[in-house]
Symmetry: C2
Subunit: 291 residues, 2 copies
Amino acid sequence: MTSDPGAVGAARFPEGALARFSINQRTVKQLSLPELAEECGRLGITGVGLWREPVQEYGVEKAARLVRDAGLEVTSLCRGGFFTESDPDGRRRALDDNRAALDEAATLGTGTLVLVSGGLPEGSRDLAGARERVAEALAELGPYARERGVRLAVEPLHPMFASDRCVVSTLAQALDLAERFPADEVGVVVDTYHLWWDDRAPEQIARAGAGGRIAAFQLADWITPLPEGVLLGRGQLGDGCVDLRGFRELADAAGHEGPVEVEIFNEDLWARDGAEVLAETAERYVRHALD
Amino acid sequence: MTSDPGAVGAARFPEGALARFSINQRTVKQLSLPELAEECGRLGITGVGLWREPVQEYGVEKAARLVRDAGLEVTSLCRGGFFTESDPDGRRRALDDNRAALDEAATLGTGTLVLVSGGLPEGSRDLAGARERVAEALAELGPYARERGVRLAVEPLHPMFASDRCVVSTLAQALDLAERFPADEVGVVVDTYHLWWDDRAPEQIARAGAGGRIAAFQLADWITPLPEGVLLGRGQLGDGCVDLRGFRELADAAGHEGPVEVEIFNEDLWARDGAEVLAETAERYVRHALD
């Protein structure tokens, strides 16, 4: 589908339509943090999901002031995790890095650190063992997170990432992990891009909601063909085959009242004007995810 | 990993090591049917999985004679399916084509027609509806298949194919579909490439075996990065992270005594000498899947 910036620019969002909308920074990574804050202000967007690297580059304290002064809520920080290394040095480094990420999340004022668990170590075929190391890391980090008022949010990633990025592939698995810990220490991320294909997703979203485990709810659409490496193949809302409204309704029905964050990694979107993509994304959200 | 044709050519397979081994024709599609039959004879391979297009090109009756004369068992025919069209004309064409595929399977003397269910119709977001149309097609084709001594084998494909190729993404889903019908009409395909990531796979393989539903058991390895379009990204046995031996043991424990078919779609393998790839594949099977 082609974009229609004219129509987007002219869009009038109905009163309150963007009340729960949050833009994940990576969706419009061509915008600097000050540009992002300014464009959010212009459009009436009040939530942003941030990424550690651009925040560190800008300065964590400075970024915290910027978003606070702009009246923006930081709905999540991406990302911690990568817990599956089996050698002790690698594991210690990963835990240290996650403590730093929790500090940064606290400074930014967000209660959610998104975790991408990590893939299989080089040469390993032991998925169950790797998943167990994720649980061990959660046990170690949970109290540190709680002290800072930040929740560890285990994100199941699409099974196509199981070997190289995340051994937690379904919401059921993420909940099996999270439920070993108190709900205010460990939650889960419900992301339509990763879960849309799973016929168990509806029941698992209900389970996540009932247990107070939905730490973040994210939207992206599924489009094909997937690009080489598959990481940057996410679709703009409405361009693909995910029933976004249906998933938003499932999350709502499960008791999720928090932000709905849009996180899309897509080279075509990154090649365009960031302000235009942001406005388009908000418009697509209203059209495809709201009532 | 690099291949070592010298070592492969010199390999002596232990007595009986290839007794259950079957080579899916697509793995070495650079070989013509007569070349494939000849190379199988040379290596002591007694099972082949065939594909409709090259068989049709060669002539179905002629292919049946060729494999019979070569002492080869046809372990499966790929593929029928593509049942998810919603318009009546498309559905009728799909059913007609599947009846033709069942006739071809019977002529070739195989009891297994592998089904790739089909993806979402253009513009559709209704996964559940598409899955229901698969069930309707199975109901319609079941008796026709049974009369010909051929079983419909529902293959769950990796969730990354859910939108464009196969709305049946897990073995549990495939069994939910198959179990609506008699076990001699509808079975399932257990393929490590599609199922390796799923923590429910072991219990579902046991379920499939207990119900007499394992119509085919196939091996391929999982490697990354995935290529554009992801279809041709399968790995040679041993090159990736799948516990092939573990899966073969699970299938055995579930009562599967039939062929172990290797089906790999990989441009690099296709670019090489077909006889060399066939020998390498047999050697990898012995090394990575046998006791």
